[in-house]
Every structure is written in C-alpha cells, then in structure tokens.
C-alpha cells in the first residue's frame, strides 16, 4: 500500500471516529474500569525491558515493527 493511500485511509478513519465520538456514550463507565487500571493490565509495564527485547529480536529477525513503540537504528553488524 502506498504512503498516499495510507495517509488517506488514516484520515478517513480518524474523521469518522471524531464525528462519531460526539454521539456515542461510553459503554464501560469510569467507575467500572478498576480491573483495566490494574498495573498487570498495562500494555507496557516495564518499558526498559520491552525496549531491550524489541532490540534483541530486530537484530536477529527479518521482521520488525508494529510493536506499538518507536525504535531507532543501530546497525549492530
């Protein structure tokens, strides 16, 4: 998929989301989110560890990306 199509698709999705968000009531109320707020449910409890493991895998695997976090180059010859 070209970058132009990606940008257009993302813009359409976000425009729809923004438009719809004005009329949709949250179906999980704030006082019902205690379980979701538990630290064990955090997407990235230990960023220093998850960043390191992402690096270990990217250096030795052909695939990369879509981990939800930004990375950096390293060469690592």
């Amino acid at each position: 998929m070209s970058h132009a199509r990606i940008g257009t698709l993302v813009s359409l999705v976000l425009f729809g989301a923004v438009s719809m968000s004005c009329s949709i009531e949250p179906w999980v109320k704030p006082y019902e989110r205690a379980a979701l707020a538990d630290p064990i449910m955090a997407a990235d409890r230990n960023p220093v560890s998850s960043t390191y493991m992402d690096h270990v895998r990217e250096v030795r695997e052909g695939a990369r990306g879509a981990s939800g976090s930004a990375g950096g180059g390293c060469g690592c010859n």
């Binding site: 998929m1 070209s2 970058h3 132009a4 199509r5 990606i6 940008g7 257009t8 993302v10 813009s11 976000l14 425009f15 989301a17 923004v18 719809m20 968000s21 949709i24 009531e25 949250p26 179906w27 999980v28 704030p30 019902e32 989110r33 379980a35 979701l36 538990d38 064990i40 449910m41 997407a43 230990n46 960023p47 220093v48 560890s49 960043t51 390191y52 493991m53 270990v56 895998r57 250096v59 030795r60 695997e61 052909g62 695939a63 990369r64 990306g65 879509a66 981990s67 939800g68 930004a70 990375g71 950096g72 180059g73 390293c74 060469g75 690592c76 010859n77």
Partner: protein
C-alpha cells in the same frame, strides 16, 4: 511526490486529533529503572546496562531519558566460517523524549543516538495520541526519520549512508470491563547502504557444487527496502486477579520476506507476602517464522551468479520458539518517603533458532550442501530495579 502526499495525509489526520479534545489523558508515571541485560548464544555474548528515567514537570509535561550499552564479544558461525578471530566492540545509545499532555491529546517527541566504532545512527520520533469515546479508544500516529552513517574498520575510504522513514498508526480499544484490544500498523522505507561491509556469501568451486570447497565473495544488497507490519493484541483480566495477553503480527517486505509472529502470556500477582513484599510471576511463549529474502542463498553455484546476493542468516528461512519466565518483587515498606513503589525483577528468555536453509559452514562433510542445517539456543537474562516516585 507519493511520499509527500502520504505525509500530508498523516498530518491532516493529526490535525483532526488536535481539533478534538473532550476527556483528559494521562501521562506515564515518574520512575527510574536500572537494568542489566545479557544475551548469550550462537557464539555471541552481548551484555551491558540500560538506565531509564522519567519525570513529570507540572501536570502536562513529562521528560524521559535512556542510556544503553551493548558490550559485544562475537565468535559467531559467520566469523568462524570466514576464518576470522573473535572480536569485541561496544555500542552506546542514548535517547531523550518529551511528552506534552493537552486535554485528551498527548504530543510526543524523542531523539535517539546510537554509536559504535563503525556505525552511527540518529533517529527522530514524533507522535500524537488521543483518547476518545469517553477514554475507551486511544488513537495514535507517529513518524520516525533516521540517518545512518556506515564506515569500515581499517578502511578510512569506506563511507556509506542510510535514510530511514517509519510511519505508525495504532488503535487501542476497551471492549468490556475486562478486555482491551489493539491494532497497530507500521510501514518503513529505507534507502541507502543496507548491508554489512564485513559479510560475504559463499559459492561453489565447481558449478555442480559437488565439492567441499567453497569460495567467498562480498555480498550485494538492494539499496531500497520497504516493509509493512500489522499486529493485533488483546489483554484480558481474569477473575482471580491475573492477566492473559495475546499478540499476532504479520510482516512482509519488498525483499519477499513474509513473517508470522504469535505470542501468548500470563501474569499472576501472588496473594501472599514473602520476605516482606508482594511477588508477581509471569510466563509467555512466542513463536516466530519467516521465509527467506529472494536474494538469499546459503550456497551460490558460481561467482556473481545473481545481481543481489546475501548469506546473512537473518534473511534465511527459519523459525524460533521462545519461552519467557519472570518474577518481580515489590517492596512492602518504602525506604524513603518520596518513593511510592520499588521493585526488583528477574526475567529469563530461552530462544531456540531453527534454520531451514542456512547450514553450519564449519561442519566437515563431503559436499558443502550436505552440511547440517544450523540451529542454536540463546539465553537472555534481564535483572532490573525500578523505583516509582
């Protein structure tokens, strides 16, 4: 032009996020982490520290910094096959980032610098995320730009460069009181010197390859690469206070590599105290499989048999199985009043690599193509301390 149009589209999407602000977002909590990491496997040992500090200033601004070192000792199969001796090198990386919260929108920027004696990389990341639908949905966009400079030991005339661009979009959605799912997409384009100047591929002494003698020639990689990755993940809170998480990722690129990744993990805080604190245990299994790059081969029939050639096992057909276990100890009593929480963690990962078309070039066989397929196991250890304040 297509790249500029795509960038304009993403900027327009970011502006839509800027214009919409209802409920409040949350910045990451203040913390400091000190980690010791060690990777050992396949004749390679890499270890070193990683220090991460994050601090809020006021209610809207958070600043972070990370200092990371890799101390490498390598006598890998590739080093041995080329008749080289074990080498040591050091890579130093530091990064700094800033997050600014305005209403339900978080703006992020970070800079990463990585240096070793023959590779210099700079990366700039820009991102924006917003909570919407009553904070049930979080949409995030980010863009990275990287500039790499590559040199070569003992060759001062060798200078190459690499440009990298990443685009990421993600959506996180609370589905029920106990279930969160996420969808992430990332695309990267790289242009420039994408190979390793020390590597070589091997070819047969005779075109029929009925020989145990091989010769070596420099690898030749394409100067461009575009990648696409999409992942789906879910986190489920279990009734006995535990969490189950799952993740699937599909990847493909213009080098014809297709990869699938699946991971399943479990986190369980123990109910009783031991040694004055609370314990959390976790375990996970990860399976990874990929197909080879279309210019990869373990053994080419003759010299310069194709325009692009590689024998880097990272581009081969292989799969990995990873078992992860970890334990975290949280102090019951804080040593200082300004410390809200303090933890100590030990994580261990065992990674088994199984190559389908990369052979052990050190094996003594009648013909080179009869050498056994290469496998090895790596052990990854992490020990780290975290303080929340």
């Amino acid at each position: 032009m297509r790249l500029q149009a795509g960038t304009i589209g993403l900027l327009a999407a970011a502006c839509l996020l800027l214009a919409h602000s209802t409920f409040a977002g949350v910045l990451p909590e203040d913390r400091a982490d000190a980690l010791y990491h060690q990777y050992e496997g396949g004749g390679v040992t890499v270890d070193g520290p990683s220090i991460l500090v994050r601090k809020k200033f006021g209610e809207n601004l958070s600043v972070s910094g990370n200092y990371y070192i890799d101390m490498v000792t390598s006598a890998s199969i590739d080093v041995k096959v080329l008749g080289a001796s074990e080498y040591k090198e050091k890579r130093t990386q530091w990064s700094t980032g800033i997050d600014y919260l305005r209403g339900s929108t978080t703006y992020s920027a970070s800079y990463i610098n990585s240096e070793e004696n023959d590779y210099f990389a700079d990366t700039l990341n820009l991102g924006i995320s917003e909570d919407m639908f009553g904070d049930l949905t979080t949409v995030s966009l980010s863009y990275s730009r990287g500039w790499d400079d590559i040199t070569k030991r003992n060759d001062t005339s060798f200078q190459r460069s690499l440009d990298r661009r990443n685009y990421r979009v993600g959506i996180s959605q609370i589905l029920t009181k106990t279930l969160i799912v996420g969808l992430n997409y990332e695309t990267e384009t790289s242009e420039g010197y994408l190979q390793n100047p020390y590597r070589a591929d091997r070819y047969c002494l005779t075109p029929d390859c009925l020989t145990d003698q091989v010769l070596f020639e420099p690898e030749v990689y394409p100067r461009t690469r575009s990648t696409n990755a999409v992942s789906l993940d879910a986190r489920w809170y279990l009734p006995w206070r535990a969490a189950l998480h799952g993740n699937y990722r599909y990847f493909h690129d213009t080098w014809s590599i297709h990869a699938n990744t699946g991971e399943l993990g479990y986190t369980h805080p123990l109910k009783w105290r031991f040694l004055g604190g609370m314990w959390t245990v976790e375990a996970a299994y990860r399976y990874y499989t990929q197909t080879r790059a279309d210019f990869y081969s373990d053994l080419f029939p003759f010299i310069e048999s194709q325009n692009f050639r590689a024998r880097d096992r990272n581009l081969a057909t292989f799969d990995t199985n990873t078992i992860h276990v970890g334990v975290t100890y949280a102090l019951g009593t804080m040593p200082f009043t300004w410390v809200q929480k303090a933890t100590a963690s030990v994580f261990y990962d065992a990674i088994q690599y199984n190559f389908k078309d990369f052979r052990d070039g050190m094996a003594d066989t009648q013909f080179a193509y009869q050498q056994p397929l290469y496998t090895y196991r790596a052990n990854v250890l992490q020990v780290f301390f975290s303080v929340y304040f």
